[in-house]
Structures are given as structure tokens and as C-alpha cells.
Symmetry: C2
Subunit: 341 residues, 2 copies
DNA sequence: AACGCCCGCTAAACTGATTTAGCAGAGCAT
DNA sequence: ATGCTCTGCTAAATCAGTTTAGCGGGCGTT
């Protein structure tokens, strides 16, 4: 790989100048007194030889590698990881940087190993990402360099990028209120663990808060709140069945994520009820499945690409410390209608 | 990032030896005549200082970076990318390597840029991945170093890793035959473009071939083959509706992927038909949705993790050239039953 | 006593860049 | 003629490792 590449010395020789001169010209150094003609010759030589600097050699001297570490807990299991990574990749490319990606799989040994591997390669900074929005403890090894947390917070008040789940809660509830749902809105997906343990989830609490505040501002409350062991389709299915067994059937349900909503759709289908004419459904995430459902599911989209992009921007362009919230916009499809009245 | 790291010179000084000695000891060089005591002192010094070699400095001399490039066309849009990446990541870690990941987004400019960025960083090899199994043309820049194609082939007869779609076709058809479906098996998802243009897909052709051969070996053929503009749920839905309008309703359908199958499920649900009692369904991919459907969808799983792992193994352990096929195993769930008869 | 050999180790070159310090020559004033 | 400044450029150090070539001393042999 990369044998026979022209070196700076080759360029200098061909231009009839010193390495110093070549280096300065190619780096566009100000204040050097090299002649216009020298500039020309260097550029021409570099062009002709197809010269590309050796990043390893350069970074040895400058301690900059134009490489950033993207360390996450789990990439494979969630299809959201792709969005985070793509956003980060885009922002990195725009800044001529490149991403070294690792996964810790939640294993402290792997984590230590991964981080050392990154530091050995002199990365310029670390994006430390979690696949579920949550609080986490940052390994001390990365604290003496630039770090941005992605989809996570920590005790250290580091810069971090989070989705604005609370506002999403308000958005979702508002969408229902506007269509005329007030007193018969049910919730699917309460979960003590996710709500209490911020190391598990920050989304559950925030979404719930947003929903409740909005309804309370409108002078009402949730008709029912079902608990779910996890946020998977089967739990949404079971929850919806329970809801349908109640005497006061809701006119709308808010699901804490799209997978729950999918389960809810399944239960409704089996019960012979139609979305949205019998029951409206709204949700969170904008999982690809939301678009595949019939009718399409209206849902507050997790802005993964923007988040990934934002994290790299903060890391490289050096913005704020503290959290920066990325808005979740409501993807409007056909799952909300006015209540049957 | 990585200031104040101890260098080899520090270790040598502390051990009271030369850099040469320290280097040789730490690299476990054979044939050096350094005393056991010298070894001890070096190890102790390295330990005490928390010494870690600077990869950039090392690779400047050795031209090995223990870093491999993972270049793919599109990572974000498909949830399969995660599996490929995770497998590659695992195999790389086991070999003390690290992954530099880029995405070309199918754009030749981005691609050139990405590849140059990788080569500038002296990667030891390239995994060139496609997110849909297909034939592609490899950019010449990466041809003078080790390359493995992942989920793709090319004209150059490079080593590549592919899912064994043809055998999967046989597996799927066999599963149906074994349950007693013979003459009323329909197919959802014929697609001229995918079948003809190997730069679009290799899977379509291979799966179809496997299915046909198996049925033909059993002395029968497909009852019907529906064409779909793409392999998305809406197309599966429409195809299933067309199928249900026929006088000779199939007892089983094979869908070319799980998203089509999802659409088929939707159409069956609306028609009041039950899987698998009225119609059995089998499919390919093992998309997460396959497990979420009710009943769970039996499907030949794309072994993404193994494929990613395998690609890195071939790259680093240097195996065969030419294609290596990874088997797709049938994930058995509840979507197949004996025909109602 | 002279020679060669092996042992245990080191000096210095080398990788490919950046950066500091400074040199030679021209032009100008005194 | 001398001193000064400015211009245009370069030698050499530096980054942190690996690798080559070889040095000094002890030992055995003849």
C-alpha cells in the first residue's frame, strides 16, 4: 500500500529548491519571502509527481493527524448508528478529517483497549457516542484532549449533543391536541427503569415530561399510561390490547417509540380497528418502519445525521461546552385524524 | 490529545540502556543477545512509565500502520451496514488493528477523496464494501495494495466475500417443499433491473436461480411470479394483492426480501387471511423486522457480521483470491405451515 | 602472545515531514 | 569602504520510533 509515493524531497529536487522551500510553499505559509517563480516551480513539481504528503510523517512533527476517534458503545444492533456515523463522516470530510471508528460493546476491557488504540494513533479528538440517549461515565484516558459526547451526557459537563426529547414530547402532544384529541389520549411505553436510571435512558423521562406539560397546559391529562418491559413491538402489542379492553377506549395513543407503535398497529389490525379513523397514533424516532406502516406513522424524528455532524463540528470548530440540543421535527404522515366524536 | 506520553527514549534512559535495546526488547526480537536482566529492566521501565509506542513514528519506519481502510458506498441508509462493520471491527481488534471508515455515497469525487485520505494515512489494506450485493468497478488507486471486496465482486478477480444467495434460494424453496407446498408456490419480487444488471444486484439472480432449480428438481415450477418496481413494503403489498385476486390462490409465497414480505403481511391482514394457516411466507435477509412481525417471519439470514469478519481475516491473514461464499442460514420462525389442503 | 570468536550492547542512520536559525548577496546610506 | 537592512533561500534539528553496522571486552586456541 502506498509504495513509490513521491516525497517532499522529490518535489524539492524537481523544483530545484530545498525541502524547506517546498514545504512552505505547499503549506501556503504567510510571510515567507519565496518568489512567485519558486511557488510556480513547486506547485508544478508537486502536480507532476502527484505528490501527497505522508500524514504519519507530518503528524510526527505537528502532533496533528487530521483523524478523529469515533468511539461508541454499540453500533451494530441499532440502525440509528448509521445516521450518527454518516453525519460525523460528512462533517469530518468537509474539514479534511477522517474517522477512526471503534465499538466498545459496553465491555470495559474492549473500551480501554479501543481508547488506547486511538490514542496510540494520536487522534486529534474523540467523539464518544452512545446508541441510546443516556448518561455515561467517560473513561479518564480521553479527558486530556478534546471530547464531545454524542447522544449522551456525563458528570463532567463536557460538550455534548443530545436530541431535544422534551420538546419532542410537546410537539407530539400538541399535534394531537390540534386535531381535537384532549381527554382520551393514552400513552404506551411507561418504563420505570428507563425513567429512573439516566444511565439507561434520558429520552423516557424527557419525552414524558414534554407530553405531560403540554396536556396539563391544555387543562387535561393522559387517560391511561401503560407500562412496558421494553420498547419493542411485542410490548406495544400487549399494551394496546390492554388499552382496548378498557371501557373508555382512547381516541389517540402516543407511543414512546416507533417499535411500540408497530406493535400497537398489529393489535389494532387484529381487533379490526383502523388507524387513524378509529384511533390516531403518534410516536417518536422515525425508524424506517414508520414509513412502511399502513398508514404511515407520524413520528418525531431523531435527527441522527445532524447530531453526528454537530458533534464533529463542535469538536473541530470548538464551540460551546455543555449540552447542545438538536430539535426533533414531526414527520407528518397519515396516522393522525380528528377523533370520531 | 496524547501530550506527555513517555517515549522509547524515556524507557531506555530509565532502564539504563540504549533506545536500540529498549526497542528490541519491547518488540520481542529474536536473536538479539540482550541479557535476561536487560529484558527485565526494560519491561519494568515501560510498565512504570506507562509507555505506549507512537504508531505514527513507528509506521514512518516500518510502513505498517495496523490500520485498515473500510470504504463503502453507503452506510447510513441500510441497517445491514452495522453488521458488516461490527464483524470487521471484531476481526480487526483480534489482530490489533483499527478501522478507518469512509463512505463514498456513490459519488466518484467523494470516492477519490476518501481513498486518497486513506492512502495518505498509509493504511495496510482496504476493505471495499457495497451495501447491496453487486458487481462494481474498483478504483485503480487501491489496486497496488491488499484489497478485499465485501459484498461485491469486480472484473479483477480480487478476493471477495459474498453471501451464498443461490444456496439460500434452494434453502428457502426446500423449506416450503418439506412442509408440503409444491404446485402452488408464488414468488414476490421479480425485478428485471436487479436480475439483469449485476452492478445493481447479484442477489436477485442468484436467489431466483436457487429457487427455480430446487422446484424443478422436485418436478414443479412456480405458480406465479410477480414483478416489483423495487423491494420495498409497498411493492410487496401491491404484489400480494395482485396474487390474491387470482383464481388459484397460492398456498405459499416466497418474497425476495423481508421488506416485501412485510408488505405481503399487510395485504394478507387486510384481506383477513392468516399467516401461516391460510398462506405460508418465506423470505430473505433477516431484517430486524422479520422478528417483529406476527407471526415471526422465517427467512434466510444475510450473515453480515460473519462477512465483515471474514473480509478482514482474508485481508490480514492472507487467504484465497477469488470469491468466498458465506452461507445464509434459515431463521425458522412461525410463518411456514403445511398447506390447508 | 597473537588471533579469532562470541557476547552484550550502542551509535548513528533512516523514515518524511515541519520548523528554527541563519547565510549569501543586493541595495542603500554614510 | 563600511555598516545596515532587506530579500530569497537553505542547513540542520526535530518528532519517535526501527534497523544496520559495529565496538569493546572476555575467552579459548595455537
Amino acid at each position: 500500500m502506498g509504495r513509490d509515493r513521491a516525497t517532499l524531497a522529490d518535489v524539492a529536487r524537481r523544483a530545484g529548491l530545498s525541502k524547506t522551500a517546498a514545504s512552505m510553499v505547499l503549506n501556503g505559509r504567510e510571510g515567507t519571502r519565496l518568489s512567485a517563480e519558486a511557488h510556480q516551480r513547486v506547485f508544478a513539481a508537486a502536480e507532476e509527481l502527484g505528490y501527497r504528503p505522508n500524514v504519519a510523517a507530518r503528524s510526527l512533527r505537528t502532533r496533528k493527524t487530521a483523524t478523529i476517534a469515533f468511539v461508541s458503545d454499540i453500533v451494530a444492533t441499532t440502525r440509528f448508528a448509521g445516521g450518527l456515523i454518516r453525519g460525523a463522516l460528512d462533517a469530518a470530510r468537509e474539514r479534511d478529517h477522517v474517522l477512526l471508528i471503534t465499538e466498545t460493546q459496553g465491555d470495559p476491557t474492549f473500551e480501554r483497549y479501543a481508547i488506547e488504540a486511538m490514542l496510540d494513533r494520536q487522534v486529534d479528538g474523540v467523539v464518544y457516542a452512545a446508541m441510546a440517549t443516556r448518561r455515561l461515565t467517560v473513561p479518564p484516558a480521553i479527558l486530556n484532549g478534546p471530547v464531545v459526547l454524542l447522544n449522551a451526557t456525563s458528570a463532567e459537563n463536557l460538550p455534548c449533543v443530545l436530541p431535544d426529547d422534551e420538546r419532542a414530547g410537546r410537539t407530539v402532544a400538541t399535534a394531537l391536541l390540534q386535531r381535537g384529541h384532549r381527554d382520551r389520549v393514552a400513552l404506551i411505553g411507561r418504563n420505570r427503569l428507563k425513567e429512573r436510571d439516566s444511565e439507561v435512558s434520558l429520552a423516557a423521562q424527557a419525552r414524558l415530561r414534554g407530553i405531560r406539560e403540554t396536556l396539563s397546559d391544555a387543562g387535561t391529562t393522559l387517560l391511561a399510561e401503560t407500562f412496558c418491559g421494553d420498547w419493542l413491538p411485542e410490548h406495544g402489542y400487549a399494551a394496546m390490547r390492554r388499552l382496548l379492553n378498557r371501557p373508555d377506549r382512547p381516541t389517540a395513543v402516543i407511543c414512546m417509540n416507533d417499535r411500540l407503535a408497530f406493535g400497537a398497529y398489529q393489535a389494532l389490525g387484529e381487533a379490526g380497528l383502523a388507524v387513524p379513523t378509529d384511533i390516531s397514533v403518534v410516536s417518536f424516532d422515525d425508524d424506517p418502519i414508520a414509513a412502511w406502516l399502513r398508514p404511515g406513522l407520524s413520528t418525531a424524528a431523531l435527527p441522527h445525521e445532524q447530531m453526528g455532524r454537530h458533534a464533529v463540528e463542535i469538536l473541530l470548530d470548538g464551540r460551546s461546552s455543555g449540552p447542545s440540543l438538536v430539535p426533533m421535527t414531526l414527520r407528518r404522515r397519515r396516522s393522525i385524524a380528528a377523533p370520531a366524536s
